[in-house]
């Protein structure tokens, strides 16, 4: 009896409880924040939440399980098209149903693709996922009557419930939906990563042979990572459909997959917080640079390409300054502070900073 109790405690209190507490705090902060800022900032924070969901899923696959995917943009497209098809012809489904359907459909496709992916390594895996990114938008163009071709399917916005009042901005309502989805995703992923599956993911990433010797089914672990990751991408895709208002092939090009990879590398490989940092960069840096085209009096051939060039420079500088991403840099600063002013919980030597701390986990 006591043993069971303590086992329950161990299961619930340190991890799940802490994650739940953290999630609750995040929810309160976001709720307060979203009602203090304007509709446009709400709209941008929604994008951050959406990309954070997708990037967290990709970070689990790439950062923690070592499988590189260039196809996550296409998986987002599957989620987005699932949502758009459900909402086609003014069908009214509750948001939660639409989101779950997208998670399910992308998850199922993730199983199929995960099995293929588990047999492939390195560049071959990248190549296989690349086909996904290239092929999926073409399907939408080919089967025009179903997927709407190049101009895509329009998605009716989810209007805020009546009890919030008639003046409630729809941007804030969508932000709340995206925040809720992101928080739930983060809590579930954090729990998964703290448990046996998370350890298995890392073991497989670090050394497949050693993991197999330790009794881990390598292929099954890889498929699981792919499915969870795909489901996150599907959820993000469905949210993106609401956010954009249209699901069209041009929105899901290879560039989207590369953006997600950028987000996890800049944010910090293998860390959920890194996915959030990366998404912040992904959303806000282009916004800062995009206005320049029409506000500076430069020749248009320069002005048109300037935002992209500045964005590229920022990414290069970020990688030089923080090779382990933003989360890695934060950890370093924290580690430096700890080493400098005592309290070294990891048992490290006081006054010594381990600058070569490998890529951080969770």
């Amino acid at each position: 009896m006591v043993a069971v109790q303590s086992r329950l405690d161990r299961l619930v209190r340190p991890t799940f409880g802490r994650h739940l507490l953290f999630a609750l705090a995040a929810a309160v902060v976001l709720l307060l924040l979203s009602s203090q800022i304007g509709a446009y900032d709400d709209y941008n924070l929604t994008a951050v939440a959406i990309f954070a969901v997708a990037a967290a899923g990709l970070n689990l696959l790439t950062g923690l399980n070592g499988q590189l995917s260039l196809g996550h943009g296409a998986l987002m497209a599957i989620g987005a098209y699932t949502a758009s098809l459900l909402l086609k012809d003014h069908h009214q489904f509750p948001v939660i149903v639409v989101l779950l359907a997208a998670v399910l459909s992308t998850g199922v496709i993730g199983i199929g693709f995960g099995y293929a992916a588990a047999r492939l390594r390195g560049p071959y895996l990248a190549g296989a996922t690349l086909t996904l990114a290239v092929a999926i938008p073409q399907v939408a163009t080919r089967y025009k009557s179903i997927f709407g071709g190049e101009s895509g399917l329009t998605v009716a916005p989810s209007s805020p419930p009546d009890w919030l009042g008639a003046d409630f901005p729809p941007e804030r309502w969508l932000a709340w939906i995206a925040f809720a989805a992101a928080i739930v995703t983060m809590v579930l992923l954090a729990n998964l990563l703290r448990g046996a599956p998370g350890r298995a993911f890392k073991a497989v990433r670090d050394n497949e042979a050693a993991a197999a010797l330790a009794g881990i089914n390598v292929a099954r672990t890889q498929v699981l990572a792919f499915v969870v990751s795909a489901a996150c991408a599907g959820l993000a895709g469905a949210l993106l459909a609401y956010w954009t208002g249209v699901t069209a092939p041009a929105g899901f090009t290879l560039a989207l997959s590369l953006q997600l990879i950028t987000a996890i590398v800049i944010g910090g490989l293998g860390s959920l917080a890194g996915a959030v940092w990366g998404s912040l960069v992904l959303v806000f840096v282009p916004l800062l640079t995009s206005g320049m085209a029409s506000r500076l009096s430069l020749p248009s051939s320069v002005a048109d390409n300037l935002p992209l060039a500045i964005y590229g420079c920022i990414l290069v500088i970020a990688m030089l300054v923080a090779p382990h991403g933003i989360q890695g840099a934060l950890r370093r600063i924290l580690a430096y502070g700890r080493a400098r002013w005592g309290n070294t919980p990891g048992g490290g030597q006081k006054g010594v900073v381990d600058w070569d701390d490998p890529a951080p986990d969770t």
């Binding site: 009602s35 203090q36 304007g38 509709a39 446009y40 709209y43 941008n44 994008a47 938008p137 073409q138 163009t141 025009k144 071709g149 190049e150 101009s151 895509g152 329009t154 009716a156 916005p157 003046d167 941007e171 993106l240 956010w243 954009t244 208002g245 249209v246 069209a248 092939p249 041009a250 929105g251 090009t253 560039a255 989207l256 916004l287 995009s290 206005g291 085209a293 029409s294 506000r295 020749p299 248009s300 051939s301 002005a303 048109d304 390409n305 935002p307 992209l308």
Partner: protein, 439 residues
């Protein structure tokens, strides 16, 4: 926060009441609108400025040619600003690069409306990109003027009362091109080459309405998607079908690819190309570029196309000399071509609309003025069709041919039509620009 929100709502309501009162007063004393003082009558309008915004493909696959449009509109606005502005207000024009990606369009349109607080959207380019935001723009009751796309989806007054098209829709264009084929190329086998989206299919709809759907067999109907530049198989299929006339609803890059592909196969049909894909300067540049200098504009010889604006090479036309002069002064770094003319002509129509709305317009009164005032077509060859039941712009086109040396010659009169109505000859005479070039 609650109280601030309440204050905002209250203020908006107060503004609405004031505006309504102003509108009623304006109705009572018509013609009074040109005098008086400037007020901040609507979001984006202050006593001294009018702010408008746009999303454009400044980079990416749709950028060649089209990226010239918004700087050219801006050049015309700067010209107007330098000559006193509109009722003393200067125009500020923000245009952002969406790279032809609807996801970017969605976010940038919100930036323009919520953060930059533009009075109206102007000239936003692209069918898939603008479809992403047309519902949102209308839900915000923001005037959405002169979408740079010939999709007839912009003419939907009941669902999108704030959205207006500008260029003739592709179905009308298809019908008038079809009529030319019947009259001047009668008896020849016809084939289609079109972009697989609203642009191409709307055009084919017009062609079929005129030529009869059964007269063109399936083998002679070839399409392309803009993401795949390998169009060899489609051109080979057209050659095999024996088509002697190929009607092409294609963007410039794909018109050039089709011409080169056909030349490579020794296939020389008569090309009939819709307006958006037939700009001589853009095509000559693309042909040289794609063939690494092997062929140039000579490949365009004999091409048939259509126009709703005067030809850029027609230096005797007073509109052309006006816009060419502004081009040389304000945006001389761009080539003088159809895209520049397009941007300036669109800006001209915008200034017309702004003037028609009176000194202190609201968003609603601006749209109302556009629906009720009979605007002259300005540089356009055909009249503008705006009314309370029609948000289509120019109603017709004129056919012209391109010679091997790039000379363009108009043939026949200007024809007008609608999506379902008959084609009729336009008898109105061409207008001349006002002395100072400002409506």
């Amino acid at each position: 926060m609650k109280s601030v929100m309440g204050g905002n709502a209250l203020r908006i309501r107060a503004i609405a009441i004031v505006c309504l009162a102003g509108l009623l007063a304006a109705c009572g004393t018509s013609g009074d609108s040109s005098s008086g003082t400037n007020t901040a009558s609507a979001p984006g309008i202050t006593a001294t400025t009018i702010t408008i915004g746009s999303t454009q493909p400044l980079t990416g696959r749709a950028a060649p040619g089209y990226s010239e449009i918004s700087p050219s509109s801006n050049a015309y606005f700067n010209y107007v600003n330098d000559h006193g502005g509109i009722n003393g207000r200067k125009i500020t024009y923000y245009y952002y690069d969406d790279g032809y990606n609807p996801t970017n369009t969605a976010s940038l349109t919100r930036k323009l409306i919520l953060e930059d607080k533009v009075f109206a959207m102007f000239s936003a380019l692209g069918t898939p990109t603008h479809l992403a935001v047309v519902d949102y723009i209308n839900s915000q009751k923001v005037p959405d003027l002169f979408v740079s796309s010939g999709c007839n989806c912009w003419n939907d007054v009941s669902n999108h009362p704030y959205t207006f098209g500008w260029q003739p829709d592709y179905t009308i264009e298809g019908k008038i091109l079809g009529q030319y084929i019947q009259k001047s190329l009668g008896g020849k086998k016809v084939g289609y080459f079109y972009q697989n989206d609203e642009f191409g299919t709307d055009g084919v709809k017009g062609l079929d309405a005129q030529l009869g759907a059964s007269s063109v067999p399936d083998a002679s109907r070839q399409n392309y998607v803009p993401t795949n530049t390998n169009i060899g198989p489609q051109i080979a299929a057209l050659k095999a079908s024996g088509a002697e006339v190929v009607v092409s609803f294609s963007i410039p890059a794909f018109t050039a690819l089709a011409l080169l592909g056909a030349a490579k196969l020794g296939y020389h049909p008569i090309w009939v190309v819709s307006n958006v894909g037939s700009d001589v300067t853009t095509l000559t540049g693309l042909l040289k570029n794609f063939s690494k200098g092997a062929v140039g504009g000579a490949l365009l010889g004999g091409m048939v196309t259509d126009a709703y604006l005067p030809l850029t090479g027609d230096s005797a036309n007073p509109w052309i000399s006006l816009f060419k002069g502004i081009h040389d002064k304000y945006v001389s770094n761009l080539p003088w071509d159809g895209n520049v003319l397009y941007g300036m002509a669109q800006a001209y129509t915008f200034v017309q609309a702004m003037k028609a709305a009176g000194r202190n317009p609201t968003r609603a009164s601006f749209v109302k003025a556009l629906e009720t005032t009979k605007l002259s077509g300005g540089p356009g060859l055909a009249p503008l069709g705006f009314s309370s039941s029609n948000h289509l712009g120019f109603l017709g086109v004129q056919i012209y041919t391109i010679a091997a040396d790039g000379t363009q010659t108009t043939t026949g009169p200007v024809y007008t039509s609608s999506d379902s109505g008959p084609i009729s000859q336009y008898s109105g005479s061409a207008s001349t620009p006002p002395a100072n070039g400002i409506p």
